[in-house]
Amino acid sequence: MSIGILSIIIFLPMVVALALMVAPFSSRITRNAAFGVSLTIFALALYIYTHFELTGTIQFKEFYPWIKSYGISYSLGIDGFSLIILMLIATLIPSAYLLLWNNARSKSYWISMLFIQSGISGTLFSLDLFLFYFFWEAMLLPVFMIIGLFGSGNRVFSTLKITIYTIMGSLFMFVSILYLGVAHYYEFGVWSFALSDLVNITTIAREQKIFLFFGFMLAFAIKIPLFPFHSWLLQTYSNSPTGGVFLLSSIMAKLGVYALVRFMIPLFPDLFAQFSIYFVALGIFGLVYFGIAAICQMNIKKMFAYSSASHLGFITAGVFALNVQGMMGSAFLIVAHAIATGGLFLLVGVMERHLGIRSLSGLGGIATKAPWFTLFFAIMLFCTVGIPGTNGFVAELLIVLGIFHYNPYLGVLSALTVLVAASYMFWVFQKAVLVKSDNDVSNMKDLSLYEILGLLPLAVLIIAMGVYPDLFLYKIEPTLQHYLIDILHVGVK
């Protein structure tokens, strides 16, 4: 039995984490090992990226039967959409490790990070819904641990809250998955939970299908989070340790959008198209609502939490716009936003370490103390706002175009709302970083070499993707075309 490359990506961090758990190593060795693992995975991901063929099909497949009596298999594979998220994970996690280099001094911190990486990859590659659910929920345990062990404030309450909240959503998805499995059994006489089999089901009545649709939707909406399922967001983000909030905002939230595309479009193409208007509207509403909420925050972490939710609303709207611009824009914004938000949260983590947790009014004048910090902060910020020349601009432009095609009124609205982000982001930048104030920020130090090394690739990516988006778009386009044309039967270019 040979082990496929995707399996290695999933299980390498887990195996290393298990070994480190038992081994009596110091946290430094643990950290170096974790970093080594993340670099290995980056190399493997690069291999996949270069060998990925430009078709809409699923590649690098692996298949082993698991629970045979119920037709459950361990089956993996990636398409263009999962590929970009894989690249995202592979690039962002080493960066994050570099920024946490001297910051996270506990062994279990690194072990949790490794476990999370395993869970995320597993979720990303699963082609069997049972397996997908397996990873989707198992991924939560290390998150639970990392917030509970290393969070601040009322961490135990926050970690229980996010755990219970997300499990609630996923359990409803679980029922939906089971229902699909049973329906498949009744229609074809064999058990299967493979996505490619479940899409063939024709016997489910419309009413039931709507229930199933929302069963899935609930799980993803909580994870993303869409309005009104965001109530876990603020507390979790502000109480999480830097590594946790980084993973939650820049990767795990994106998995919600990913699953939306990967599973809901093939499973419920008609309902997806039919309900799209509501979700585009909901996404845009979320964009505005969270944007306004962000303006009202005085704590940078909380503000970025809302800003992140605001962008995810935008991404969701793009996905539901049912055309190639919208979807491509969403994919692009997933990447752009993951890099930018991830970077911003990491930078805020640096700031917190030097200055402690402070509200905006207690900051100011950091620019003179920490020029590198300011530079990277600015790049990430420009990307979030969507300044031309960054990838955020390309992404937002595409989504706005997509929504315009979908519905001109909503398009106008979405174009205007992009301004919201600009208003609070620049305000933060001005208030916290640029303008001199009486507040004592003498403890602020500039970025260390490790931190600069970690952020540099992100900054380069932001600019490169902003200037030359095709570099990246061509890999994903066939997959999106496949979703739109073959499955949804819309958006012929």
Binding site: I67, Y70, A138, F144, I164, F172, L178, V182
Partner: protein
């Protein structure tokens, strides 16, 4: 022929004669408690070894029909349940070792009683006749009543024992009355014949049989602590010595289900749908009330007792589904029993290990910061909590998967959703413990000595923890080593043996 039949009955014979032998030997001063404990272990292991010979084969037989008529049956089904009961007893004796060493009030007769109750449970799954079943049930219960109250220095024990005795006996009389009514209606008490006689009566008035069977179900619901007969559970579980609680919660339930499934699947099949609505109500109430009780408990042991009521609810969901998805629902019950048995046994066993010292109260608060002092024990306890909560990568998750799939297959999607909601709430009371253990600094109270990891008990618990995880992720990658598939396949096989005519 005689030898084959004796072979079939050998596990029963071994356990029964072991029980008698231990009883006779108990006045002999020369044999210490440790010896008795070891002897019990050997007897159980022997019986399990004999039982395993027949494991995984499809067959059914009435051993020594000339002597026993059709009162006893041996088939793949009973072999499967025997294996479960014997492993449960084995694990109990292993995890109890430490407890019995520390607590000196246990007398040697305890082990004899223990074997008697194991014998009763095994007899119950072999019973092919209502009165035999009643006798088996009473053997098991009577031994348990005494085992609970054995440590008589404790008021709580006596109260638990007495409460269980009184209520259990009353519920037992229902069984007897039910059997009488069924006999009055059908003229036989032998399973198999009951079904045939009932088939002949279809279209006529069967109310006598329905009432009789309902009475039997009352006993069943009482023993598995379903609503509205659940009130004794928390007090009795809480009042019992921990190894006995583990034994009751895990093993006794297995035996009860073993008998009632046999009765329901074969004999009451024609009229089973009469109880559907009743069962739906019972399930909802059991889930609701069990969840409510579990949330408000402060002591860990009481929480586990209350949560066992919730797990009864899940099992009943599968139980009501057997009418419409017989095979998958029945095997899901069997699988879930294994899953629950492992997780609960581990949890109770570990707590009993920690709490062997009399003065430790085992509330949630006592576990604050536990992980920083005893990382391995905390990890094991977390594994059991995760499994009870049904989180992926544990056997509890696979068990829930089977149960809810069976329910949806049977058309009870609504019940599956209710089960899911109960599961969701259960996250709270299971994760609370994990959170307390890990997320707070250690505060070792003065005077509480928690034993270090050594001896047979922690090893057993460790093995159970690995089994729990293996049951959740195990697969066919490792050849010749049973994975998830193995358990459900053998469960299906044992289910099929019920229908061999």
């Amino acid at each position: 022929m005689l030898w084959t039949h004796l072979g079939y009955l050998l596990p029963l014979i071994i356990v029964a004669s072991g029980a008698v032998l231990l009883m006779l030997l108990s006045p002999v001063e020369r044999f210490s408690m440790e010896r008795f404990s070891l002897f019990t272990f050997v007897i159980l292991l022997l019986a399990l070894g004999v039982d395993i010979v027949y494991f995984g084969k499809l067959f059914t037989a009435f051993p020594m029909e000339g002597l026993f008529s059709k009162m006893l049956i041996v088939d793949s089904y009973s072999v499967y349940f025997d294996a479960l009961i014997l492993s449960g007893a084995l694990v109990t004796s292993l995890i109890g070792t430490h407890y019995f060493q520390i607590k000196r009030h246990f007398k040697k007769e305890f082990f004899s009683l223990f074997l008697f109750s194991v014998f009763g449970m095994m007899l119950l799954v072999h019973a092919n006749e209502l009165l035999t079943a009643f006798i088996a049930l009473e053997i098991a219960s009577l031994s348990l009543y005494v085992m609970i109250g054995f440590q008589k220095i404790h008021d709580k024990r006596v109260e638990a024992s007495y409460q269980y005795l009184v209520l259990g006996s009353i519920s037992g009389t229902f069984f007897l009355l039910g059997s009488a009514l069924i006999y009055a209606g059908l003229g036989t008490t032998i399973l198999g014949d009951l079904g045939k006689a009932l088939d002949g009566l279809m279209g006529k008035d069967v109310s006598l049989i329905v009432i009789g069977a309902t009475f039997i179900l009352v006993t069943f619901l009482f023993k598995i602590s379903a609503f509205p007969f659940q009130n004794w559970t928390i007090d009795v579980y809480d009042g019992s010595p921990l190894p006995v609680t583990a034994f009751m919660a895990a093993t006794f339930k297995v035996a009860i289900f073993g008998f009632i499934l046999r009765l329901m699947l074969i004999d009451l099949d024609p009229i089973r749908d009469i109880w559907d609505t009743l069962f739906v109500v019972v399930i909802l109430a059991t889930l609701l009330y069990g969840t409510f009780l579990a949330i408000i408990q402060e002591s860990l042991k009481r929480m586990l007792a209350a949560s066992s009521i919730v797990h009864t609810g899940y099992l009943l969901i599968a139980f009501v589904s057997i009418g419409y998805a017989g095979e998958s629902a029945s095997s899901s019950i069997i699988f879930y029993l294994v899953a629950y048995f492992l997780s609960a046994m581990g949890a109770f066993g570990l707590i009993s290990y920690i709490a062997a010292d009399e003065h430790v109260r085992v509330t949630y608060e006592d576990f604050r910061g536990f992980a920083h002092v005893h990382p391995y024990m905390a990890a094991m306890l977390s594994v059991f909590m995760l499994s009870l909560a049904g989180i992926p990568s544990t056997i509890g998750f696979v068990g829930k998967f089977y149960i809810f799939t069976g329910a949806i297959e049977a058309g009870y999607t609504f019940l599956a959703v209710c089960g899911i909601i109960a599961t969701f709430i259960s996250i709270y009371y299971y994760f609370k413990l994990i959170a307390l253990m890990y997320f707070y600094p250690a505060c070792e109270k003065e005077g509480t000595m928690i034993p270090t990891l050594s001896g047979i008990t922690p090893i057993t618990i460790g093995v159970i923890a690995i089994a729990v995880i293996w049951g959740g992720i195990g697969n066919t990658f490792i050849a010749y080593f049973p994975g998830v598939d193995f358990l459900i396949d053998t469960a299906r096989l044992s289910y099929m043996s019920l229908f061999i005519k």
